[in-house]
Symmetry: C2
Subunit: 337 residues, 2 copies
């Protein structure tokens, strides 16, 4: 079953898209073309198409402004800034991880070259900062500070991710810490930045950020589960691609550190040299499940969602905003299941 | 003859260094280590050393604050931000250009890996933005906007540079436009950002930026001449490395588009497949000179310096600041000659 995209997500896209397009139009034509391809606005030849992501983070940012009674104009700017940082990190991560497919299409670096993709990522990061300093209000200055801190978090998460690939003794705790940086920080920022930009009350901003952090880790767990058991239609990537790349995802590390016989067999399988053939990948997936990695990740995701809900309850906001926040987070963590 | 480093440069380093170190200390340990190596503060093992660049841009930024009667605290922050953006661009450019040596040491990506160097560059760019939004004054917000525009300029210049490597019909005008983005924009920013941060008069900011732009192109011309005829001691790179990499530098393009027989022979030489052996590289350098590329670049640099001086005269600032600006720019464009 494919859940329906929440209405708030489509609405946010309409709000945020013009701001992002205006920003990208400031770039030189070469870099703008790479950015437009990566953002799903154009094909490799520069012809307009529509392959965008689901704009879930912008939707959360728009809601976070509404939670503090901020207007749509604030939501549009913070939503665009958050999505630009997200796009920057995907662009650079694909280069680093050697991932060749993104959202059912060849990754930008495979189309335009590594150097051009590095530059386009740099440009998206710079544009995000520009958007937040332009309004010039104290709230937006605080939002720019928050996005800077968040960017450092994303970088720290990716740095750990790269380090983990070279280690075979990664603990589950380390892995959760990495997810908190790599996924949690940006969701925490998305869920609170609008309230920051309108200079909303501190406790509201903190509660929203805590909500986003828990939701972000829940999302990472769901995404890791999809990376093993999801269909290519849902993930936009080849089947079993996370195992093929021997990624130390949360369910895999849970299995490897389970102390079970299945966990040990999984470790031996993943330590084999050379690319793993399809049957071995299917065996690996089975062993993750047998070692309890799948069940642990599903339970942990549920706990995180419960914790997220509690933070949302303490935040205090209009009931319709609260409902839409929950809709998006349930969609984010439940797609294709 | 090696000219003496102007005193203002050393003074600026003392002012800016603590701000940069405090900023880099915010990063995760993995990324901070790559950054510290690249910035010349540590060796590959993380042990403290001192291999820093000359901090010319921070010195210009500090002067730009003094030009508008701003304090040393302002100069320290804008100087650090400008140097962080400079360091970010060098780090990423070395990866893109495949340059293996930077400031007499192995380039960071050759030591820590491409992915780690991409991340560290991202981090330095993010930190620069953070430093400028922290004070929260309208002047600093304007400075953050200016640095954002400048970053886009640097990216546009590097995008053109990459494009030019694949083309054999680059005009001198295109090449100058590229240098204006790649080198001019950051110098224009360095020379004016302090005045912007203290909300100095608009005409002063404009005149300082115009001064920096002309000085920047003069510096690029001087650097391109050094890339062909400079000693490895002066450049920190192997001799003839720009010709070895077949870079479309300004003197080379001037020679190629000179319409002379030497220019045609140079074009044929540079079109040969495979790496060029040392004697061919020396021939190429001779042909650039014979075709008038060297003389053109020297004359153009002189014109740019004259133009820079005129802008400085219209700017209006304390006489000692004006003298120090000129000292640094003469040093920047005249080192090793």
């Amino acid at each position: 079953m494919t859940p329906v995209v929440p209405a708030a997500v489509e609405a946010a896209r309409g709000l945020v898209d013009p701001v992002m397009r205006e920003a990208v139009a400031r770039l030189d034509p070469i870099t703008a073309r790479v950015a437009a391809y990566h953002l799903g606005w154009a094909d490799a030849a520069g012809q307009p198409v529509s392959h965008g992501g689901k704009a879930l983070r912008p939707a959360l940012a728009v809601l976070s402004a509404r939670a503090a009674r901020g207007g749509a104009d604030v939501g549009a700017v913070v939503g665009a800034a958050v999505e630009l940082v997200h796009a920057f990190s995907l662009l650079h991560d694909d280069i680093m991880d050697g991932d060749r497919v993104r959202r059912h299409r060849p990754a930008a670096w495979t189309v335009f070259g590594r150097s051009e993709a590095i530059l386009a990522g740099d440009a998206l990061l710079a544009l995000a900062g520009e958007l937040l300093v332009e309004p010039g209000t104290p709230g937006f200055v605080d939002a720019a500070r928050a996005l800077g801190r968040t960017t450092r978090g994303l970088i720290a998460g990716q740095a750990l991710d790269l380090e983990f690939e070279r280690r075979d003794d990664v603990t589950l705790e380390e892995c959760l810490r990495m997810s908190a940086r790599k996924t949690g920080d940006l969701l925490a920022c998305a869920c609170s930045i609008g309230a920051t930009a309108v200079a909303g009350p501190g406790p509201l901003v903190s509660a929203l950020a805590a909500f986003g952090m828990e939701a972000g880790v829940a999302f990472q767990l769901a995404d890791d589960l999809l990376g093993i058991w999801g269909s290519p239609e849902a993930t936009g990537k080849p089947v079993l691609s996370d195992l093929r790349a021997r990624k130390k995802t949360l369910p895999v590390v849970a299995a490897l550190t389970s102390g079970t016989a299945a966990g040990e067999r999984l470790a031996r399988l993943l330590a084999l040299p050379g690319p793993l053939p399809e049957p071995d990948l299917r065996d690996a997936a089975r062993l993750v499940e047998e070692a309890g990695g799948r069940a642990w990740a599903e339970t942990e995701a549920k706990h995180r969602l419960d914790a997220a809900g509690l933070h949302l309850d303490t935040a205090g906001m209009p009931a319709d905003v609260r409902a839409e926040f929950l809709d998006i987070v349930l969609y984010l963590t439940g797609r294709d299941r």
